[in-house]
Structures are given as structure tokens and as C-alpha cells.
Amino acid sequence: MNGQELLPLLPLLIVSVFVVLNLIVISLYRNHQTTALLTGLGLVLALISTLFIDKSTPQYVMPLIIVDRYSIFFVGLILLAALMVTLLSYRYLELQKESRKEEYYVFLLLTTLGSSVVVSSNHFVSFFLGLEILSVSLYALIAYKAEDSLGLEAGIKYLILAATSDAFLLFGIALIYADTGQLEFARIAPMFDSGHIGFLLPGLGLLIVGLGFKLSLVPFHMWTPDVYQGAPAPITAFLASASKGAVFALMLRYFTKIGIHTNNSLLTVFAVIAVASMFGGNLLALLQNYVKRILAYSSIAHFGYLLTAFLASGNLAFSAVTYYLAAYFVTILGAFGAITALSGSKAEPDLIDSYRGMFWKQPLLGGVFSATLLSLAGIPLTAGFVGKFYVMAAGINSHLWILVVSLVASSVIGLFYYLRIISVMFSKDLGNSEATGSDMTGMAAAGFALVLLTIALVWLGIYPSSLIALIQKIVPNPA
């Protein structure tokens, strides 16, 4: 091992260095602004470093990590998401009574590191370690606010359920290892082609349970609304985008390799999960009165849509999933970003009624929030529309009729609750909605992030070909 070999890891190394740097700075000089700036700087440097990695051939760092166009694209996406969350968090934390605001950024960098490791892992060891770094720092972030018992409850729920799902994951890995004697993804994949089953299928089944939990797909979704509601809004944004996206990106790469399209039992399992997630998420969202819970159920449904494209085969599926994930990142960061920006020192606006007349009081924020909701619903001119269109095209191309029909039907159900929030925001009756924050401390950073996200949202909706061209380049040797 020498320096040359470590070069492809530059973004991860920079993030790790800034974790340690932040800790040192915090212990010497506790200042919220300094730590936030340092975190932003680290993320920007890591982003810049992704441009300098040689992407011509996939590079393996030991057997653990693979660095190619695909993983670098997702690492970049995760770093961008983390940067947006940092910008959004500054004002949010300033308004909190919490006396220790600085460790937040350490955890944020650590979750970023964890999700980046997950997307670039080529080995069960790095996958599991990345996943654990991701979830351990998420426990701390979810329960970050000292005075908030709801956050604490959410943190404990996430801790226990994530530990349980990790047990499933580990048992699955053990069974696969027992059968193949391999922990490297690239070497396990060919074993499937030989038609040999043995412990592989039960192992894979347990693996799917663990992954299903991380992605909050329907039979494993119970934790989602509570955790989404209890966590601080910027953290929910990160949880919904980077943490889930990383796991899905990894799943896409390797499940395609092991020939999920030819294996009937796997295909059936995923199809059932997809349909259940689409309908379950959208129907349960109808019953909710809290905006963050609605968005939680909507995220369940969105990962159901993603599974539709995931099950479609070929190049189109790959680019559809990647595009949808990118669009979803932008949209959900914008949505939770708007909630973050609307929250005052007392509480986040959570009950749907506290959004009454939002559009007339805070036209800019109301506009951003409506735009993201429209994108989640899949209305034209937004990123969400193009993404959904792409996913449906991929589904139709592979003749997955049941999935496509459920996608359309459940999207129509979904439209109702998105529009319900929007109609409440536009209602002239102002009611008693004093919970909305008008505190402008540190609004510049959050505002900047929201403007960027909104521009990206509309840009991807009107002119998607720029991103699609990029995505077509990163597809790893088409299956």
C-alpha cells in the first residue's frame, strides 16, 4: 500500500481529516460559526477532489473499496446533500437552546463518510462498517436536541430497530459467506450464474430484510414516521436523501450483477415489496395530520417507485434509478429545508394547520415548499416529473405491467395529500399559526441553500438532458 493507491480515496480522506480537525477545534475553541465554516470547507474540498480522481478505469483500493464513475457520482451527490444540510442547519441550531451545537457537525461529517463508504464498497466488510458509521452517527443526530423528548424517543427507536435489522444483515452475510467463502461482491456475483443455490438464497433473503429496513420499504417501514417526525428537520432531510440513497445505489449496482432479472424468486419478492410500498406509503400518508409524517410515508412510496425501475432490466433502468435518486435528493432536501427554514426557536411547524396561509406570510418559503411538494407529486416542469416519467419508461420497456399500473394508481392517491398541504398553505384564512418562525438569524445560508435547490429542481424538470448525459457516462458496464 502506498500513497498512489490511496489517491482514489481522496474525498473520503478529506472528510475524515475534517472530522478530526473539527474535534480538535471544538476542544480548543468552542464556536458554532467556526465549526460550521470548517465543515462547509471540508465538504467543498472533498467535492473538488472528486474532480481530480482518475475515472478512466475502475480502481480498487485493497479488496474493500471500488472507485469508479458510478461511485464517484454518488459520493459527489452525498457530499452535495451534506453541504446543503450544513447550510440549512446553521440557522436551525442557532435558534436551539442546546448548549453544545458543535458536535452536530462532527456527526454530520461522519454520516457523510459512512454513506460514501457504503456507495463505494466492494466487500461486505466495508459495506457493513460504512453502514454502521452511518447509523451510529445518525442515532446521535436524531436524538441531538437535549430538551426534546420526541427526538430522544425517535433516536431510541431507530437504535433498537437498526440494531435488529443489522442482525438480519449479518446473518445473511454469514450464510452467503458459509456458502461461497467470499465476502467480495464482485466474486459472489458469478456464483449465482452457475445456478448453484444452497445457502445463497436464504442469505440473500435475510439481506433483503436488512436492506428493506434501511430503505423503509413496506413490511419494514414501521420506524419511518416516528423517526422522521422526531428528528431535527435538517437531519430528516439527510436521512431521507443521503442515507437511503447510498444503500439503494449499492443495491442497484450489485443486485443487477447477480442477475435479479433472471431469478424469479428474487423478482417476485421485490415486486411484492414494491407494490406494497407504493400503496402502503401513499394510503397511510392520507391519514396523517403532521407534515413530517406525511413526507415520511411519501418517502416509503417513492422508494417503491424506485424499485419499479430497479426491477426493469438494462441500461435504461440504471439511468432511470440514478436520475430518480438525484431528483429525489434535490426535492426532499428542498422540502425538509423549507420546514427547517420555517421553524422558529420554539418548535418546528409540524401540524398541517400551522402551515395555514403560509404562502401569504412567507411567499418565498411557501413558494419553495410548494415547488418541492409538486415535484414529489410528479407535476410537470419539476425534477420529480421527469424522474417519474423515466421510471415508468423503464418499467414499460421491461413489460412490468403490474408495477407500472400500481405506480400510476398510487401516484394519483399521492397527489391528494401533496395538494392538501399546498391548499392549506394558500388558504387566505390565517387562523392561529403563530408557530411559524419569522426569526431571520442566519437566514442567508439557509436561503442560499434553498435557492440553489429550487433552481436545481426546476432546471432538472425543464432541461433534464444535461444530467441524463452525465448519468449515461457513469453506468457501469451495462448488464
Binding site: 474535534l23 483500493v61 485493497m62 448548549s99 463508504v117 451510529v136 442515532y139 446521535a140
Partner: protein, 175 residues
Amino acid sequence: MNGVFYLSAIIGILATLMVVTRLNAVHALLYLIVSFFSVAVIFFVLGAPFVAALEIIIYAGAIMVLFVFVIMMLNLGSKSTKQEGVLLQPRSWLGPSVLSGILILEIIYLMAYSGSSPISSPAEIAPKQIGMALFGPYAIGVELASMLLLAGLVGAYHIGSRRLLDSSSKRGDKE
């Protein structure tokens, strides 16, 4: 050696079940130690004596530290003496000792057998090989594990410190 494996696996499951069902934390911890011992024996049978030793040193050792904490927290003068008396009743130590006694017999049996091969796996993994793997192909994994521990440490510190802050601020309010 399959018999030894199954016996220790059964003891492991039994001990873990007892951990979950005990109401007294100290009793549960005793069974937890037995459960770690049985896992260590399984590792030994599988040809990983080094990991078996680590299992006992690290896990059982950590439980001992927990023990010390429990005793420390229960340290309330005469009440703690009563607590010790309860702990010394055969009812509380008999179960764990029987289970670990069986495990010791297994180990003695394995040791006596070591003339031939005491293990069911094709090769024994020596500490050197583990070290070489950790410093060779898995070096990044070791670094990642250090980040994981850092996350756990800082997280525990942050969430744990809130109770201290709360109680001190409440005390401040009273005064």
C-alpha cells in the same frame, strides 16, 4: 468435534435466553458472560483460538467493568451488604456456574484431545495471520472501524452529558 460444537451452541442459546428473561440486572450479566464463554468455545472448535481468547478478554472483560459500575451504583452502605448477601445465594449463581462448568469440561476434553486435531476446520488461524490480514488487505477496514468507534464515543458523550446538564440545572433552579 461436532458434539462439542452443538453442546456449546445449546449452552449459548440457553444462556442468552436467560439474559433476556432475568429481572435482576446482575443475574442477567452473569448469564451474558456464560453466553460469551460458549461463543468463545465455538470459535475455538472452529479453529480460531485467538478470536476465542479475544472474545473472553474483551467481551467478558467489558461485562466485568459493567459489574463494577452496578456495584458502584448500588453502593449504599448497609443496603449494599444486603445486596451482596442476595447475590451469594446459590439460586443466583448456580445456573451460570453449571453452564460454564460444562464449557470448562468441553475445553479440557479438547485440550486432552489436542494430540490429534481438536478442531473441525481445515486449518487453525494463528494470531499472526489475523494481524497480517488486518494490516494488509483490511487496513482500510481498521481505519473505518476507528471512525465508527469515534462516532460511538462522541455520540455517547453528547447524549450522556445531557442528563448531567439537566440534573445540575435543576439543582440550580432549586437553590
